[in-house]
Amino acid sequence: MNFDFSDDQKVLRDQAKKFLSQHASPARVRKILETDTPYDAELWRGMAENGWQGTAVPEAYGGAGFGYLELCVIAEELGRSLAPTPFSSSVYLATEALLLAGSDAQKKTWLPKLAMGDAIGCFALAEGPSAPSPRSIKTTVKDGKVTGAKLPVADGDVADFAVVAASDSLCLVDLKGPGVARTTVKTVDPTRSHARIVFDGATAEPLGVGGQGWALTQRLLDRAAVLVAFEQVGGAQAALDMGREYAMGRFAFGRPIASFQAIKHKLVDMYVATELARSNAYYAAWALSTESPELPVAAAAARISATEAFWLAAKENIQTHGGMGFTWEFDCHLYYRRAKLLALSLGSARRWKHELIARVGKGKAA
């Protein structure tokens, strides 16, 4: 039994933690929150110098050629620090889409740049306030031209290209070419940048086999869900640590509020949810790193567990802080915003729960 990260992976995690504590401090996160700057470009460059964007990209395409376990430990630290960069869009989604379905030429064009942080990719799926599905997606590709409107697209305003989900296929679109109109949109978490993208006959290169778009989207979302689950676990742990720290130092009725059972039990609930999420994320990491047939079930379970843990930890962290918890000045809202954003970014927990039960059922029938 060896259900843990290796010593090398733990060293990588510690290095990531140290780097991010210096270069993605709450003050740096707030700069992105409070200005129109879409992301922290200096941090992005620093991450690229560490080789993080290319962690799971094969060496043949300019990456570090590590595995997904290495990417998971980095993701946990990105979640803890709330690093305001397009990492999840570019690495977990765009890079993964190319690795999953890209032609050799497409991989050669984009992967080295993505791995070096020289290009940013994004994934354009949602089309407004409803759950995307093969029936609901209106974006179409005809004769190599894509038409449709995507909203919101994480990092769509800063990306060089997008992986676009059309009604029955995925395609690659150069976002700097003609037929693309991008506008930045406001979201609940301004530390991460989002756009509305309108495609009006922009040139679209097919990605993967036509007619397989939705199946490919699911596979892509499963892989990203594992990595985002680590970000969520990192965020949940940070919110728990913050609530704990505050409760220890805040005195009321002549004693630290951390000595009241109402607060203690609340913090324990946060701890329990975070540990369950961490364990589910570990299992999903194993499934991802070994390309196990368990991945679809494990990814859905990790996604649900981590989404609920981060939400619980973030909202109860505010509650533990009392009045100061809902001020702009305190950092509680940074976790609260990120928790809700990540809960939606790959699809709601409601949708993943339905998927999970369908997938468990398939496993039982097999």
Partner: protein
């Protein structure tokens, strides 16, 4: 990251499987218990027989030192054994308290002669032990116990009442925490003994639980004499000894028995609601998913603990969440399974109800699971203080003599 055994672990697992295949009874149904198969009398005889064979083969007391009859093995071997034995119907609830909690206390506090006398017999199932801790007025607040011990020559004379004593009705020996000095502060006036359960003046009364089962007892002490040589720890030092016993409880409290998620899924799949199969209902699917991820989360958490054991490390606090999550979830799942059966869910006759009324039984047994071996609330306090390092609650009973503490009417 992988789930495979090391070479040594695989060899041990193979030995365990081979022995079990020859010596243990296969399960006939998922929830069949030893007692249900054999009845109480025959169950005890068969349990002792099984335990003796298990001990002779070296699979009882896996982590115990060899000089006291143990195997001298590793904690991970103990976990592997539990996994493999769990595939069979094995006697549970007869020996765990003695072997898992009380003998480790003897190892820490008994004389060398006592350690050579008692643990080997407990290991072979020749002698069964019970733990006489809780009292009517001392449950979560165990140090509030009132059973009196008064020194008389080289003996102590015990008077009082214990309750929730698992297996006292079949126990040969017991350990008891008593109040030897009511004038001392409550934690400082306690003394810990072991005693012969056949001693004159002991009366054991079974307690009938809401499930209909009787796993626990009340034990009354009237002028029961215990030789001072059977005292463990110092006079007034009983609290520390009791903590040793309870720390081992956290290591022995296992998984919940009874219907789990897969059985609930089975009910959902086979039950028709007004609009079709329950499994197709959105609300049902969401609840199933919530419980699935918690059940899996606990499973992988146990694997993380096993990994630490496998490396020879002390596991972190992760496992402390196990019973807290599992007991409450089992209760909610049982109630929900009955809801799916709608009006028919009320039927608890095993000849008629689905899965031989496993969920109806569970709804009546799970309230006890949330209380026994640490209530939900006490477990949360323990996690808060020992894992998260939060301060202990303000105590109003710290600086007074026990006899001066206020008492309620219940």
């Amino acid at each position: 990251m992988d789930f495979t055994d090391t070479k040594e672990e695989a060899a041990f697992r193979a030995d365990a499987r081979a022995w079990l295949a020859k010596n243990a009874e296969p399960k006939r149904g998922a929830f069949e218990t030893w007692d249900a198969r054999y009845g109480e009398k025959e169950g005890l005889v068969n349990a002792k027989d099984y335990q003796r064979r298990k001990a002779e083969a070296g699979f009882a007391g896996i982590t115990w030192p060899k000089e006291y009859g143990g195997r001298g093995g590793t904690p991970i071997e103990s976990v592997i054994w539990s996994q493999e034995e769990g595939e069979y119907i094995a006697p549970r609830g007869y020996f765990e308290i003695g072997l898992g909690m009380i003998m480790p206390t003897l190892f820490a506090y008994a004389t060398e002669e006592q350690k050579r006398r008692y643990p080997p017999k407990a290991l072979r199932g020749d002698e069964i032990w019970c733990q006489l801790f809780s009292e009517p007025a001392a449950g979560s607040d165990l140090a509030g116990l009132r059973t009196r011990a008064v020194k008389d020559g080289t003996d102590w004379v015990i008077n009082g009442q214990k309750i929730w004593t698992s297996g006292a009705h079949r126990a040969d020996w017991g350990v008891v925490v008593t109040r030897s000095d009511p004038n001392a502060q409550k934690h400082k006036g306690l003394t810990y003994f072991f005693l012969d359960m056949k001693s004159p003046g002991i009366e054991v009364r079974r307690i009938k639980q809401i499930s209909g089962a009787s796993n626990f007892n009340e034990v009354y002490f009237t002028d029961v004499r215990i030789p001072d040589s059977q005292r463990l720890g110092g006079v007034g030092g009983g609290w520390g000894v009791a903590i040793t016993t309870l720390m081992n409880e956290r290591l022995t409290s296992g998984e919940m028995r009874g219907p789990d998620w897969d059985e609930l899924y089975g009910i959902a799949k086979n039950t028709e609601l007004e609009d079709g199969p329950a499994l197709s209902d959105a609300g049902v699917r969401e609840r199933l998913a919530d419980w699935y991820v918690k059940r899996q989360g606990l499973r992988w958490t146990r694997f993380r603990v096993m990994t630490a054991l496998s490396r020879g490390e002390t596991p972190g606090p992760e496992n402390s969440i196990g019973k807290l999550v599992a007991a409450a979830q089992a209760q909610d799942m049982a109630a929900f399974a009955m809801d799916l059966m709608d009006m028919g869910g009320a039927v608890s006759d095993p000849e008629i109800a689905p899965m031989r009324a496993a969920f109806q039984d569970s709804v009546l047994s799970t309230p006890g699971s949330r209380i026994a071996a640490g209530t939900d609330e006490i477990l949360k306090n323990i996690i808060a203080e020992r894992v998260l390092g939060l301060p202990a609650d303000v105590r109003v009973d710290k600086d007074q003599a026990f006899k001066d503490l206020p008492t309620g009417k219940r």
